[in-house]
Symmetry: C2
Subunit: 380 residues, 2 copies
């Protein structure tokens, strides 16, 4: 057995985070995380839970009673959504137009569901016509789509159209809002989204660890009347209902500090105003986009479905995407990311989220990228 390891003080580098998440965390949120703990059943924590739920409803634009932070990172709220709503024997319709549709598929299968697809190439949104066809052909019980596809930088337009199609077929709609919540317009109630989930480390600029989830009553009725219990105890919403519902009884120990953090991050959303926040992301990311285009770079997504929070930029011919990423990290402590899956090597992904969505950061990214490209011998 080894002796006690000698591990030094925590001194991570001082990065500027302009990748696909995490984004830079607001100092007030960092400060909230150093707050001493109360117990997860403390009367004062119950009040904090109520406040977080209220702030989450505001941010999701919903009146759903069932709105909570799930005790895990974004993939945990994703699995809580899919693993509770999809019952063995249910059919779930998932998209093929990016990385996260594939994750939906894996989760739905593990939940005991059958999976069918609505096709679109990576880098394109879903076409309502194709969704309609897929519904007519497969009659799925659940339909999942990605509102803001982090792997391709594509925003799904026409959300109300998609939910209408689903509801005409008595299906439930699950929206992945990981990279949109708090940065890009998402209207859960008005647009007829039954279930939405997100991660805190994107447009909310909060460290990962407690992740937003909302379900309307119609969907909770399905969840609470399941014949077979969900396959995860940790993420079983019928059990979590005991803790986050009226009883406030013990299920598991909530990640108290992460709840403190998301409370502060959501307070910042409320102070700014959700519409103002969407507008800020549009404006600041718009400057980023213009700046990149002025350098002769090409956005991967056309303007109609450009995603302000995640800017996918084509890597110019002759430029090594990884060399630019390393140069930015090594020279400027600046994080941007490469493409994933079908788009690996073809794009860079530059986030513009939450506290990172500031003119200061955009200026820094643009001048650093210009220099990195020059190092690579790129001429526009």
């Amino acid at each position: 057995m080894a002796d006690a390891p000698e591990v030094g003080e925590l001194t991570p580098p001082d990065r500027t985070l302009m990748g696909p998440g995490p984004s830079d965390v607001h100092p007030r949120v960092l400060q909230a995380m150093s707050t001493p703990l109360v117990g997860h059943l403390d009367p004062s924590f119950i009040e904090i839970m109520n406040e977080v739920q209220e702030l989450l409803r505001y941010t999701f634009r919903t009146d759903n009673q069932w709105t909570i932070p799930v005790s895990g990172t974004g993939s945990a709220s994703m699995e809580a959504a899919i693993g509770n709503v999809v019952e063995p024997g249910d059919t779930m319709l998932v998209p093929t137009n990016g990385y996260f549709g594939g994750r939906m598929e894996s989760m739905a299968r593990r939940a005991g569901g059958e999976v069918v697809h609505v096709e679109a190439p990576w880098g394109e949104p879903l076409d309502p016509v194709d969704v309609q066809k897929a519904f007519d052909e497969h009659q799925p019980d659940v339909f999942g789509f990605i509102h803001a596809e982090t792997s391709t930088g594509v925003l799904q337009p026409n959300v109300s159209e998609l939910t209408s199609i689903a509801h005409d077929h008595d299906a439930y709609v699950i929206a992945d809002c990981v990279t949109s919540l708090g940065g890009v317009e998402m209207q859960v109630d008005e647009w007829g989204v039954d279930v939405a989930y997100s991660g805190p480390q994107k447009c909310l600029s909060c460290p990962p660890g407690a992740s937003p989830l909302t379900l309307n009553d119609r969907t909770m009725d399905k969840v609470l009347s399941r014949e077979e219990e969900p396959r995860s105890w940790y993420l079983d919403l019928s059990l979590l209902e005991g803790y986050w519902g009226d009883d406030r009884s013990y299920h598991h120990t909530a990640p108290i500090t992460n709840v403190y953090a998301i409370r502060e991050a959501l307070r910042l959303v409320a102070e700014e105003g959700i519409e103002n926040r969407w507008e800020r992301h549009l404006n600041v990311a718009g400057e980023l986009k213009s700046g990149l285009q002025e350098m002769g770079l090409e956005m991967n997504a056309p303007d109609e479905y450009w995603l302000p929070s995640l800017n996918a930029v084509r890597v110019p011919d002759g430029v090594d995407d990884g060399a630019v990423i390393s140069y930015l990290l090594d020279t400027y402590d600046l994080e941007i990311a490469s493409g994933l899956g079908d788009l690996a090597g073809d794009i860079w992904r530059i986030g513009c989220m939450g506290y990172s969505a500031r003119p200061k950061n955009v200026q820094y990214v643009l001048s650093s990228i210009e220099e990195a490209l020059a190092e690579q011998g790129y001429e526009q």
Copy 2:
């Protein structure tokens, strides 16, 4: 839709946490949590991950390569253990002597396993004779036991005997060390434990959110050769292997701040020395136990299996357990807890864990309880 909610600054009360967890967090750990983030794939974070793994191995007393913090609270590491090791059709042997055996049972069933029991009353440890009988009768594939039962304040002695029985039957042993790791002796390798998991908010005095898990190679071979994939994507160890193993490739966004926190909490373990830490818990909790007994109170567990980190004390006749708990919280900002399940109303649970296991806290608890009991008209 509601307007922006007006939620004030975060000002939780200043509690002293002497319940079943969370325990008081060390100031250095709180400070680590306010450190700005790096990305979860940043080269500097990879190094931090390595350090955390090394520190976890030291704390678990293991050389297991497969030693990680799971991205969730203690129940997530518990479900990661059970949900990966138990395959559909496997039989798992679980104990009936406390609350957490019941949780093991629920998780094993959801994983597709059959469950059989080894019986012992709440408040008693398992008898190796009964474990042997249960193995002979049921031939289980997996055996789970609770090393430190938080619901009853009972420490399971004879761990090596239990693991020997299991290994004679070619079974895998999963040990729940939620309330023992870092506070009460646990020797994963020497005692033949195949899988152990814990929570950070007990004897490690770290906020919940990233939870220790270790598996030996023999068990990982079973996990990696499963015919059917585990039912959780989020907790699938074959996928997590890509992130925590040699590849360091993306699976999900790790809870970076919680990893910072557990790193600092584990550094404190290494600085103190694990054996010294066990001894401190024994000594400080010993003072607590003596003090309670001097007041005429009776411990629920006899000395042979008294659990220093969680002291279960009988509520004297005529005393209202809830009134005492409320009095301590309201008057002294001091948290202790009531009994759970079979022992609800019969015991108080007083934690003595990590940074809370200090003479100062013991003195404070003893004098406060003495006063609370006097308020209740208790005379020893």
